[in-house]
């Protein structure tokens, strides 16, 4: 490790936005053929730093030394041409073009003697690149027909098409199943062996420990240190990130849950129109029930069908002993079902509206005189929920766009608590949320259960499911195949069910 050449050096980088010092004198180095994990809570400055590296932002102070030479990028295009590629969390491919076109996009496209594009050459070069990373994707396929994981491979091939020396991966695993993540990791190993340096941004601890060589940690825009991955542990890393100790593995005090009475929510053989799911489950008062399973096992679809966002084909939803029809989200909300959906940006947030408006959206229709909103009542409600859930925002009129992921999520949870739901459905409640806010959200969920709320949580992170749930259902290929209670809940049992196995 020690004798590797340093490929990139950042010296004293400072970048300010109006009112905020986003990066404050940050110095980090990157060596050939290593995986450097970049860690930090949301808002710590990770993405700003990466945008400085790839030429989107120009720092006010500090130097970027690349291949031993001081550089200053004119823009992302120049950085890309010089070998710095970024793979964004949300993939930036053109879905209606072919794999080949996407792979060579931005590279020098081969042309024939008339100056027209030579398509045969495009496809064969794309094929070569794909094969070099062990993929047999057909270059003439449309990108829109690929899975997310396959699209990621296209992104990586594209990065290689311009002979990238540095590849920055921003939460690449967020939308992948565990099998696909394994594939991604072997690809990263391959890239390492070719001396490509990789910056890996992720919130998932297990991944960091699996794949990275070193972890650089940022906190509040400042560089706080670098750890050699195999000489440290999770707690030390978290401590460095948040500057205080946080126990995310806190297990709820074993609370007696009465499972003899009527369940709050009881779902019987609920299926959807696309035959993706067939779900049966119960949730009792004050209980936190987890739904585990691999990506694509139908967990989110089940929640969405209960909530009426997807039409149910057959089966029953029973709420407090009464059969209900979830025709659409509206009727589900009226019945007292709440859903915090998986994708905050696409399904929850009104980005351009204020934090307050985002919180009070469900209560507004119920607080009116002649169609006019009772502003005082609503403002007080917004204030209260902001305080209760500790949503950190300069004021309620500030656009929710400017909040960190964790605070956005707390605002969304506040929105749903405002209707005092009978059952709260949470789909990936801590995705894209930093460690500190994660612990807060766990506390909120526990507290809700203590107050008698029933909570149904879907999560891809096993530690999260395990530490939160009183009971866990495991889904496999759309069906609920296993049920685990209290002490029987463990990683091995869940994975056995999730992969279609049976417990001995």
């Amino acid at each position: 490790m020690g004798n590797r050449k340093t490929i990139l050096e950042l010296k004293g980088i400072t970048k300010t936005f109006p009112g905020v010092k986003s990066l404050d004198n940050v110095s980090i180095d990157l060596k050939e053929g290593e995986v450097l994990a970049l860690m930090g809570e949301n808002g710590a400055g990770k993405s700003t730093l990466m945008k400085v590296v790839c030429g989107v932002y120009i720092p006010e102070e500090g130097d970027i030394v690349y291949h031993g030479q001081k550089v200053s990028w004119s823009g992302p295009l120049e950085a890309r041409k010089k070998g710095i590629s970024v793979i964004h969390q949300e993939l930036k491919l053109a879905p209606n073009l072919t794999v080949g076109e996407n792979v060579l996009m931005g590279a020098d496209v081969p042309k024939n003697k008339f100056g027209f594009i030579n398509w045969n050459e495009v496809n064969s070069r794309a094929k070569e690149l794909l094969e070099s990373i062990g993929s047999d994707l057909d270059p003439s396929r449309l990108v829109s027909s690929l899975s997310i994981a396959q699209q990621q491979i296209v992104e990586i091939a594209r990065a290689l098409s311009i002979k990238a020396d540095i590849i920055i991966m921003d939460e690449p695993s967020a939308t992948l199943s565990s099998k696909e993540i394994d594939k991604l990791f072997s690809l990263i190993e391959l890239l390492k062996s070719r001396n490509v340096a990789i910056v890996y941004v992720s919130h998932r601890m297990e991944e960091i420990f699996k794949i990275s060589d070193r972890c650089a940690v940022l906190r509040d825009g400042k560089y706080v240190g670098t750890l050699i991955t195999n000489e440290t542990n999770e707690n030390e890393l978290i401590k460095l990130m948040v500057g205080r100790e946080i126990d995310t593995s806190k297990k709820k005090m074993a609370q007696k849950i009465n499972r003899k009475g009527t369940p709050v929510l009881s779902v019987k053989h609920l299926t959807d129109g696309n035959d993706l799911i067939d779900g049966t489950l119960d949730v009792y008062p004050g209980e936190i029930v987890g739904i585990a399973g691999l990506v694509g096992s139908g967990r989110s679809e089940l929640l969405q069908t209960i909530f009426g966002h997807t039409k149910a084909k057959s089966g029953e939803i029973v709420l407090n002993g009464e059969i209900i029809q979830s025709k659409n989200p509206r009727s589900a909300i009226d019945k007292g079902i709440a859903l915090v959906p998986e994708s905050r940006k696409d399904q929850s947030l009104f980005l351009e509206l204020g934090v307050g408006e985002n919180i009070s959206v469900l209560k507004v229709p119920k607080n009116t005189t002649l169609g006019f909103i009772k502003r005082k009542v609503i403002q007080e409600l917004e204030q209260d929920y902001k305080k209760k859930l500790n949503v950190k925002t300069p004021n309620l009129a500030a656009k929710i766009l400017n909040l960190s992921g964790g605070n956005q999520q707390k605002a969304i949870i506040a929105r749903w608590l405002s209707i005092a739901p009978k059952v709260l459905l949470l789909d990936e409640p801590t995705r894209g949320v930093d460690v500190g806010a994660k612990a807060e959200i766990y506390d909120i969920i526990h507290q809700l259960a203590e107050e008698g709320f029933s909570v149904l949580v879907v999560s891809s992170e096993l530690p999260e499911i395990i530490s939160l749930s009183d009971r866990v259902y495991v889904m496999h290929e759309g069906k609920v195949v296993g049920e685990l209670t209290n002490d029987d809940i463990n990683q091995e049992a869940i994975m056995t069910y999730a992969t279609g196995g049976k417990l001995a």
């Binding site: 859903l339 399904q347 929850s348 009104f350 351009e352 403002q379 859930l389 004021n395 107050e451 709320f453």
Partner: protein, 330 residues
């Protein structure tokens, strides 16, 4: 602390003071167009002694009233992320219908019928957009053509003359010193402002435009909200159509050509985003005033009409560009 229950007695006094400061700032930030209109007025009043006279001010206000009313309706549509290209045709159709109905019923009733025809045409636009999920630009491109066709069919291609003096006064009369069209324009904007700012329906419009999926998942009636904004746009176009017919003393099937584009320009100048979810009705009023003041001032300076078109077009693009830059900084 209980998370599930809310103490409604929490004092909000501190936050309110913060809010006032914040809202003044927000107002100025959003309302760059007001500053621009004021500067433009100063500019013209220096160059032409006729500009800052009562007569001319009244004149500008009256000329602006029609495009401002259209812009008000268009603001609702654009806030949901839609567009309405048919309002020019609705202006013609509603004007023609109002004059036609006034031929055999009292003028107020005839006028109302004309406005309702506008509303009905808008409702059809909204229904097709929200239910069939066709792009609004296609739906209203179609209705722009067939609505004008209907106007031609009703009149046989000739203008229908207005006989009623009450009808004429809608376009030419005064209420005290203020022209009636200007009074109507002010009323339309006051109502539109109240609806957008203080009603559930108004909030829903911003939410549907900001994030349709999230709106649906929070139980907002997306389909009916969209249907209603086009209906409102149709009603506004109906009102504008009646005023125009009253000013011209006739319902003309070829009236209002290209008005939709002026309205869109006014809305965008006023700072409303074409993507939806962001915008402000007062901005649209000043957007329309900007265009009115500009052509009035140029006319007073004896600028040739052809050159006025060139200047107007370039100024619109430039003004929107400046606005973008300013916003990105903020």
């Amino acid at each position: 602390m209980s998370v599930s229950q809310v103490n409604t007695k929490t004092s909000t006094v501190e936050s309110r003071q913060g809010n006032i400061k914040q809202s003044v700032f927000n107002f100025l930030n959003k309302m760059g167009i007001i500053v621009v209109v004021v500067l433009l007025c100063i500019f013209f009043s220096i160059l032409s002694s006729d500009f800052l006279t009562w007569n001319n001010i009244v004149n500008v206000a009256r000329q602006t009233s029609i495009s401002a009313i259209l812009a008000a309706g268009m603001t609702f549509v654009i806030l949901t992320g839609g567009i309405d290209l048919s309002i020019g045709a609705i202006v013609a159709l509603a004007g023609v219908c109002a004059v036609y109905f006034t031929g055999f019923m009292p003028a107020p009733l005839g006028i109302l019928c004309g406005i309702l025809v506008g509303g009905a045409a808008g409702y059809v636009n909204g229904f097709l957009t929200s239910v069939t999920k066709l792009p609004a630009i296609i739906v209203t491109l179609g209705s722009m053509t067939y609505l004008r066709g209907i106007a031609y069919v009703i009149t046989g291609g000739y203008p229908l003359m207005v006989e009623s003096s009450l009808f004429k006064s809608v376009g030419t009369g005064y209420l005290g010193p203020i022209p009636i069209p200007v009074m109507i324009m002010i009323a339309v904007f006051v109502i539109a402002h109240l609806v957008l700012k203080y009603t559930v329906f108004g909030r829903n419009i911003y939410m549907v435009g900001g994030n349709e999926e999230a709106a649906r998942l929070t139980g907002i009636k997306v389909t009916s909200s969209i249907t209603w904004v086009y209906t409102i746009s149709g009603i506004c176009a109906g009102i504008a159509g009646v005023i125009l017919a009253a000013r011209l003393f006739s319902g003309q099937p070829n009236a209002g050509m290209g008005y939709e584009l002026d309205a869109i320009a006014a809305v965008v100048l006023g700072g409303t985003s074409l993507v939806g979810g962001v915008g402000f009705i007062v901005g649209s009023l000043f957007g329309a005033l900007f265009m009115g003041v500009l052509s009035n001032g140029l006319t007073l300076l004896n600028v040739d009409y052809y050159w006025q078109l060139i200047i107007k077009g370039l100024v619109i693009v430039f003004a929107i560009y400046i606005d973008r830059v300013r916003r990105k900084k903020g």
